[in-house]
């Protein structure tokens, strides 16, 4: 009987471990140990907390906080970047892209050429706002009409 | 092997018994000395172990007991008799404080049992054995483990000592050979005997039997009567039997209370009750079909009823 209970508890913990490592994102995200940088956007579109931050398509961090600055009328997005990716130049550009036409939105970092690197608490100077589909369509339509 | 118990040498551990007045006793076996649980001091002098005064108990509107006085003498067999549904089992539950009365008191060994705190009550119950109608054996334990259960719960006896004690108790009820069986494999009479062995496992000062003879064949009935009698004599137990089996109960009881409708209808020794003046008690004890309790359930006139339409 004790053996069966032991097996049962072991199987339960094995299942929990499998769910944690294989099914959830626990193995891919080391939350907490990263450094925070800020980026300002005129429009963040559908960006969420926990949206990915990518550089050249590689996941380097996640959006950890989104605030609105009522003085400058801009969104302030806090990005938590993993410590191993600490070589982003200070003139890096942050853009909001969409994965596929209708997929999730993410922040893309495009490195610049400066020697100094971004550190904890720095703010990215250059940013491209989200492409909002309606606006693009509207622009195409007005361009066509004005031709 | 020899055992030294309370200063006396026992040739072999057949039955372990402590003198009633001993505060505690040492059980010395081969290579081990064990302290048995201390007994509470009874108040000596009084030969009435349980004193029930003015007991009143209601269930909703129904009055089960109405100002009942009862005395249970130390070392004697006292029987409570009465028709089914008069609350005989309820009386046992009141004495053991499984139920609380609406008025009146129950004194066990000079202490009001309903005024005890839970630990005190549990301490008291260790000295009160009770034999339930169904046996109330734990269904997932063997006969041996059932008898060992109170010992394991309340003592720190080593395994060998528990084995000696359990086998001695089972031997006393004649079921040592059934030690490995499960309760489901026992007949009703055997289950009651195992329950009896369990009830005396902690060497109580008293034991209560709830309808011990109901539904027994003549042989197991005889076995139970003999057991109750010998238990009472050999162990110096105070016994209370609740029953409606007149003949069997009269054969062993020292004193009988006949109760009905929440009152004591009659009392006395079996011989006294034989010559009772109470018509009701006579009808009950002799099992007469008609008397103060009528054969017919109250109804209107028979002829009128028949030709009504």
């Amino acid at each position: 009987m004790e053996v069966w209970v032991g097996l049962f508890v072991a199987a339960g913990f094995a299942a929990l471990f499998m769910l944690a490592m294989k099914v959830s994102n626990m193995s891919t995200v080391s939350s907490g140990d990263g450094y925070e940088i800020f980026a300002r956007f005129g429009n963040i579109g559908g960006l969420n907390v926990r949206s990915p931050v990518r550089a050249s398509g590689v996941l380097v961090g996640r959006v950890s906080k989104i605030n609105y600055d009522s003085r400058t009328f801009e969104a302030i997005v806090t990005l938590t970047i993993e410590n191993q990716f600490n070589q982003f130049p200070t003139d890096t550009t942050a853009s909001i892209f969409t994965a596929g036409l209708l997929g999730e939105q993410y922040v893309s970092l495009t490195p610049g050429a400066e020697d100094a690197v971004l550190k904890q608490g720095d703010t990215i100077m250059f940013s491209d706002s989200a492409m909002v589909l309606e606006r693009i369509i509207g622009k195409i339509v007005t361009d066509k009409l004005s031709e | 092997m020899q055992f030294l118990l309370c200063g006396r040498v026992y040739p072999a551990l057949h039955s372990v018994q402590c003198p009633v007045q001993a505060e505690s006793c040492r059980l010395t076996g081969p290579g081990q000395t064990v302290k048995l649980p201390a007994r509470m001091q009874d108040s000596p002098g009084s030969d009435i172990l349980i004193r029930v005064r003015g007991l009143t108990f209601r269930r909703g509107e129904r009055v089960i007991f109405d100002n009942v006085d009862l005395d249970f003498q130390r070392g004697r067999i006292t029987a409570i008799m009465g028709p089914s549904g008069t609350g005989k089992t309820t009386l046992l539950k009141l004495i053991t404080a499984q139920l609380t009365p609406d008025a009146g008191s129950v004194e066990v060994a000079s202490r009001n049992i309903h005024a005890l705190s839970t630990p005190e009550l549990f301490e008291m119950r260790k000295r009160m054995g009770m034999l339930f109608q169904s046996g109330a054996l734990l269904t997932d334990l063997t006969v041996f483990e059932n008898v060992a259960y109170p010992l394991r719960e309340h003592t720190q006896l080593p395994e060998r000592m528990i084995r000696y004690l359990v086998l001695a108790k089972l031997q006393a009820v004649g079921l040592r050979g059934a030690a490995g069986l499960l309760p489901a494999q026992l007949s009703g009479g055997m289950a009651r005997r195992v329950a009896l062995a369990r009830a005396i496992a902690l060497d109580p000062m008293m034991i209560m039997y709830d309808e011990p003879f109901t539904g027994q064949d003549p042989i197991s009935m005889g076995v139970l009567i003999k057991l109750i009698h010998t238990m009472n004599d050999n162990l110096g137990l105070t016994s209370i039997i609740v029953s409606h089996d007149v003949v069997e109960t009269s054969s062993i009881a020292d004193h009988i209370y006949v109760i009905s409708d929440g009152r004591v209808m009659d009392q006395g020794s079996p011989a006294e009750l034989e010559r009772t003046a109470s018509e009701w008690a006579r009808q009950f004890l002799k099992g007469l079909p008609d008397g103060p309790v009528h054969f017919h359930y109250p109804a209107g006139d028979y002829a009128e009823d028949l030709f009504e339409n």
């Binding site: 049962f8 339960g12 094995a14 994102n25 | 499984q98 109330a136 902690l202």
Partner: protein, 273 residues
């Protein structure tokens, strides 16, 4: 004649109202008793921790004996999710998201809920029947007369066992379901294996999804065991009484689990944003 008729119907209405009131009163009274019962069981739990043997024994009868049904049900639910998810997703050309669908559904909702329903049906009914039978055969009274507290020796170990077993069973259910979804999606329908796991990992969050499921299963285990124990301990000590209590135990526990799931989902989703 007419006034008499109205008097009768008014009487009938009054009776109906009185009846409803009585039922409500009985319900409240039962709920109150169940609450007091839970309190006493919880108070007795510290005493049980000193006797791990009792808990192991109950984890066996509550957890181990439920594992087969959980394995089978988990596998079938996973297979259906894989098949159904694939059929829907393939229309949008996004069958690669099958992992997301299977993983999220199992970990957040179906794992805890279905496991709790199975738990109520298998372990809960067994608990109720066992306790009801113990009551019918005077075993509780017998224990009390042996100066043994049934709350400490009988009820509290079962409560703890339910509490321990449920999350483990739910985890096993979800894990088996995910594997079954993998088998259908990747093995039979040709979804890319890497995509299945990668999509699942990117969508299922450890804190928000996995822990939500874990807390839910803990709450469900607690609720289902509580209902089962109370119904058994409160059962009428007759054969029909035990039968009725067993049915009621499964029905009430299942409804409680579903209701609790709604409340917890709303509550846990709210704390997310």
């Amino acid at each position: 004649m007419k006034t008499e008729a109205t008097a009768v119907s008014a009487n009938g209405r009054l009776d109906a109202i009185a009846n409803a009131g009585r039922r409500a009163f009985v319900f409240l009274e039962r709920t109150g008793r169940a609450g007091l019962f839970l309190l006493r069981v919880l108070q007795s739990i510290p005493a049980v921790l000193a006797r791990p043997g009792l808990i192991v024994q109950q984890v066996f009868s509550v957890g181990v004996l439920t594992i087969v049904i959980v394995l089978v049900a988990g596998a079938f639910v996973g297979l259906v999710l894989g098949l159904q998810g694939y059929n829907v997703l393939v229309r949008f050309n996004s069958e690669a998201s099958l992992g997301t669908f299977v993983g999220l559904t199992l970990v957040r909702e179906l794992g805890p809920v279905v496991t709790a329903l199975l738990f109520a049906g298998r372990a809960g009914s067994a608990l109720t029947a066992e306790l009801g039978l113990m009551k019918a055969t005077e075993q509780f009274a017998g224990l009390e007369m042996m100066a043994v507290d049934p709350y400490k020796r009988v009820l509290a170990p079962r409560m703890l066992a339910g509490f321990i077993s449920m999350p483990l069973l739910a985890a096993i259910f979800s894990a088996v379901g995910v594997l079954a979804g993998y088998f259908i999606g990747v093995g039979l329908l040709g979804v890319d294996a890497g995509a299945y796991w990668a999509q699942m990992q990117s969508a299922v969050d450890f804190d928000e999804d996995l822990m939500t499921g874990f807390w839910k299963s803990l709450a469900f285990g607690f609720a289902a065991t509580w209902v089962a124990l109370f119904e058994g301990y409160d059962a009428e000590p007759t054969a029909e009484g035990v039968g009725r209590a067993t049915t009621r135990s499964v029905v009430s526990a299942s409804l409680l689990v579903l209701g609790l799931n709604f409340v917890l989902t709303a509550f846990l989703l709210e704390t997310d944003t």
